[in-house]
Amino acid sequence: MRVEYINPFVESAYSIMKEVLNTEVTRGDLYLKKSSQPVMGVAAIVGLAGDVEGRVLFDMDENTAIEISSVMNAEKLTEIDDLVKATITELANMITAQAVTKLHDLGFRFDLTPPAIITGQNMKVTDMNVEALIVPFEVPQGKVEINVAIRERS
């Protein structure tokens, strides 16, 4: 993955989560992975197109999704309902959009697709022929992993 792409995603994820959750956010070490990776339970996916092709996945377990949505909506939510799904989708949209804005400032042209949300147990994600960058974040509500798999359009 091209090094210029990495920081915009890390920075915008950090600053947006810090802002909307109004709390401390700790980032773990970045690493690369290619084989299938388990998905924790709630995953929002945003497609990227333009100079590159690929996708960004925001992954957390159900409990974390409910807790984060509760904070963002300022009300206590208890199950994965439409509001939770919409909230997590919005979070994914905000982070990706800010990253793409930063990339645009650096001279890279990226387009976004509308986010989709996937929920369920025992899921895995596999990207053929492209390495995924994993950015793990720790917030008081739980663990959020941002999984970026993009490559240059050849």
Partner: protein, 445 residues
């Protein structure tokens, strides 16, 4: 569905079995095979030598030994089991396991003491009657741990004063005579092979410590160098009265000091650019693609680009520099040089800034720096040249081979691969060796 449940149950049972460690054994090797003895029988382990010879004893009795005031008899288990035993030098210490039997203590000499392994006694399986090397009545079972199979010896059966002892001694006599026959080899030949084994062993330890301290993996890629280096190293350390073995990262660094290719972590000098430029392959199209894995901070990648600009300026050059060290590779696109350290050949491609010199943007646009792990190899666009100096040696051996295969698959015909100056391709199928002038280079056939 039923199947799934039983599978899970089986797994759980297995996990439970693994977790209940109730049998520990001291493991050791004899003639390259792994054995274990019940730790409850072991009093201690030690290195010992200079045993006092006892005349007219069985050949497997090495003599007696003074263990802090207690006289114990010492038995060479290799001779006892009719295994090849290396001759040890006068003052050399050997590995000894001291076992406690019902009424006496005895020392047994083995090749090498390994470690303590804990297993579940349920996982010990009875010996198979086909075991050839060692008489089956001395084996209490066989256990697997961490993909190694250990033969568990029954110490009481071997050395105990049970009624079988007479029998076992008489069967030993046969083996003793065969051992003596082995001994009749010419003395000189054995000495030569012994000293070679000794240095092989020393070198083996060095190789292992290089993995520990520097993640440097020896394989046929660098074996020739590591052997050559060892004789030099041995001489230096021996003359300075220092330990041959690498005791820390500093030692490992000084061992590898002469391994690295010229201009590691700096811009290549004009001489090196000139030498290497003769290896640039001729291409028919207008594009020239280069892959530079392990680019680190980017010095090498910028050097390659400058070399190509000098000698192939008419082509569309594209270089992929990749590294799995994010901190290094992230700083590569904005790398700043002090003017005094930049050879003149680079000046025409660089601009002066407030803090130092940088490459022009038109140059940087030709390089794509990537955060990438060679573990996850991807398919590339077709490559004309791959420059991977001193990278393979720091990958695990199976990964080295995978990387070489991917390079072969992705290079165009007549494409060129450059390795580190002390690295060689282990297998030339598909390649033509064009190394010369201290550069390891290969052309795809």
């Amino acid at each position: 569905m039923d199947n799934v449940i039983t599978d899970i149950e089986l797994l759980q049972q297995e996990a439970k079995k693994e977790s209940s460690i109730d049998f520990k054994m001291v493991t050791f090797s004899l003639a390259g095979k792994d054995y274990g003895v019940d730790i409850m029988k072991v009093k201690e382990i030690s290195k010992a030598g200079k045993f006092t010879f006892v005349p007219n004893s069985a050949p497997y009795v090495r003599g007696v030994y003074n263990l802090r005031g207690d006289i114990i008899s010492v038995i060479d288990l290799r001779i006892f089991f009719n295994q090849p035993a290396k001759q040890s030098g006068e003052n050399e210490l050997e590995s000894m396991i001291i076992v406690r039997l019902e009424d006496h203590v005895i020392g047994i000499i083995v090749d090498e003491i390994d470690k303590v392994v804990g297993i579940s006694s349920e996982s010990v399986q009875p010996p198979h009657p086909l075991f050839g090397d060692i008489n089956i009545k001395y084996i209490s079972g066989v256990a697997e741990n961490n993909n190694r199979l250990y033969v568990i010896l029954d110490v009481d059966a071997i050395f105990g004063t049970k009624s079988e002892e007479e029998e076992s001694v008489s069967s030993r006599d046969n083996s003793a005579s065969s051992y003596e026959r082995v001994q009749e080899e010419p003395q000189t030949a054995r000495h030569a092979s012994d000293s070679m084994n000794q240095s092989d062993r020393e070198l083996g330890f060095i190789k292992e410590t290089l993995i520990t301290f520097k993640q440097f993996y020896t394989s046929s890629v660098n074996d020739a160098w590591i052997r050559k280096r060892y004789s030099q190293w041995f001489e230096d350390r021996y003359n300075n009265n220092q330990s041959i073995q690498l005791t820390g990262v500093d030692d490992a660094d000084s061992y590898l000091k002469s391994f690295y290719s010229p201009y590691t972590n700096s811009l290549w000098g004009e001489d090196y650019i000139k030498t290497l430029s003769s290896y640039i392959p001729q291409v028919s199209g207008a594009n020239f693609n280069v892959w530079n894995p392990g680019c680190g901070k980017g010095y090498e990648t910028y050097s390659i680009l400058t070399m190509l600009k000098k000698h192939k300026s008419d082509l569309n050059i594209k270089i992929h520099g990749s590294d799995k060290d994010l901190i290094s590779v992230a700083s590569a696109p904005g790398l700043i040089f002090q003017k005094s350290t930049v050879p003149a050949v680079y000046h025409e491609f660089m601009v002066d800034g407030n803090t130092g010199m940088q490459f022009q943007n038109s140059m940087k646009d030709l390089i794509m720096f990537e955060f990438r792990d060679l573990e996850n190899l991807e398919v590339f666009s077709r490559l004309d040249m791959v420059i991977i100096r001193d990278v393979l040696s720091f990958l695990k051996v199976d990964l080295q081979n995978r990387v070489i295969q991917v390079i072969l698959d992705n290079l165009k015909d007549n494409g060129v691969l450059i390795l580190g100056q002390n690295e060689r391709l282990p297998n030339l199928s598909g390649w033509e060796d064009i190394s010369a002038n201290g550069i390891s280079a290969y052309r795809k056939k």
